[in-house]
C-alpha cells in the first residue's frame, strides 16, 4: 500500500476537526471535533510505525488515546459547568476575556 493513502486520510481527518473546532458553537461538538483531530494524528503515528517497523509509534498512539480520554473527562466537566452557569452549552457566552 502507498504511504500517502494513510497520511492524506489522516490529514483530511485533522482538517475536518479544525473546521469543527472553529465553526461549532456547542461545547460538546467542539470536543468531538478535537477527537477527530487526535484520531488523525494517531493514524499518522500507526502508519509511520508500520513503515519503519518500529513499535514506538503504537506506544505513543496508546498514550494519545489515554490523554484523549482524560481530555474528554475534563472538557465535559467544564461544558457542564458552563451549562450550569449560563443555562446553555454554547461557548459564545464565555467571552469575558474578549478585548
Amino acid at each position: 500500500m502507498i504511504m500517502n493513502q494513510f497520511l492524506i486520510l489522516s490529514a483530511f481527518l485533522f482538517c475536518v476537526g479544525v473546521y469543527g473546532v472553529l465553526a461549532r458553537r456547542n461545547g460538546v461538538l467542539v470536543l468531538m471535533s478535537v477527537e477527530l483531530m487526535l484520531n488523525g494524528v494517531n493514524l499518522n503515528l500507526i502508519a509511520f510505525s508500520a513503515r519503519l517497523h518500529a513499535v514506538s509509534g503504537q506506544v505513543f498512539a496508546l498514550f494519545i488515546i489515554t490523554i484523549a480520554a482524560a481530555e474528554v473527562g475534563v472538557g465535559l466537566a467544564i461544558v457542564l459547568l458552563i451549562y450550569r452557569n449560563l443555562r446553555s452549552p454554547d461557548l459564545d457566552g464565555v467571552d469575558q476575556l474578549k478585548g
Binding site: V16, A23, M32, L36, A77, P89
Partner: protein, 167 residues
C-alpha cells in the same frame, strides 16, 4: 495487496463522509453516532496496518467509553435535539477557508515528501503489532512515560469530578 487496497478505500470513503457528518449535522446525537463510524473506521485502518492491539484499545476506549461520555454530556446539557441551526456559530465560511487551506498545504507537502513511499505489510510489520511486543515496549522502554500518563489520567478524572461537583 489488492484486497487490502479495496478495503482501505471503502473504509476511507465511509470515514470521510462520517467525519463531515460530525461537523455538519444539525442533530447533536447524530454527530455522536457519526463519530462512532469514524472511530470504528480508524480502528479498521489500524488492523489494515497490522496494529491489532491499538485497534482493540481504540474500540474499547473510544467507542466504549469516550462516546458514552459524549452521550452523557449531551443528555446532561439538554442540548437542542434537532432542527436547530444553533449548533454552528457565524464563522462557518472563514473556518472552511482555514481548514481547506491547511488541507491543501498538508497534501502538497505529503505528496512532495512521501510521493513514492510504500508500506510493505510483511511479517516484520505484523510482528510489531503483536500485543506481547507492544506490552514489552510499554513496560520496559516506556515505563516512566506510562506511569506519568497514568498519574495524569487519575489527576484529570479527579479534577473532572471536582469541577462538576454541585455544592
Amino acid at each position: 495487496m489488492i484486497a487490502q487496497n479495496i478495503a482501505f478505500w471503502i473504509i476511507a470513503v465511509a470515514m470521510g463522509f462520517a467525519a463531515i457528518g460530525v461537523v455538519r449535522t444539525r442533530n447533536i446525537v447524530h454527530a455522536a453516532l457519526y463519530l462512532v463510524v469514524v472511530l470504528a473506521g480508524v480502528a479498521a485502518q489500524y488492523i489494515l496496518l497490522g496494529a491489532e492491539f491499538v485497534a482493540w484499545v481504540q474500540v474499547l476506549i473510544y467507542i466504549g467509553a469516550v462516546v458514552i461520555l459524549f452521550l452523557f454530556g449531551i443528555m446532561l446539557t439538554r442540548a437542542p435535539m434537532e432542527g436547530d441551526s444553533d449548533l454552528d456559530n457565524d464563522q462557518r465560511f472563514p473556518a472552511a477557508v482555514a481548514a481547506l487551506f491547511l488541507l491543501g498545504v498538508l497534501v502538497v507537502l505529503l505528496l512532495d515528501a512521501f510521493g513514492g513511499t510504500k508500506i510493505k505489510l510483511d511479517a516484520a510489520v505484523l510482528a510489531t503489532g503483536k500485543t506481547a511486543v507492544v506490552g514489552d515496549a510499554i513496560f520496559r522502554q516506556y515505563v516512566v512515560p506510562f506511569e506519568v500518563v497514568s498519574m495524569l489520567l487519575l489527576a484529570a478524572l479527579v479534577g473532572a469530578v471536582v469541577i462538576a461537583r454541585r455544592d
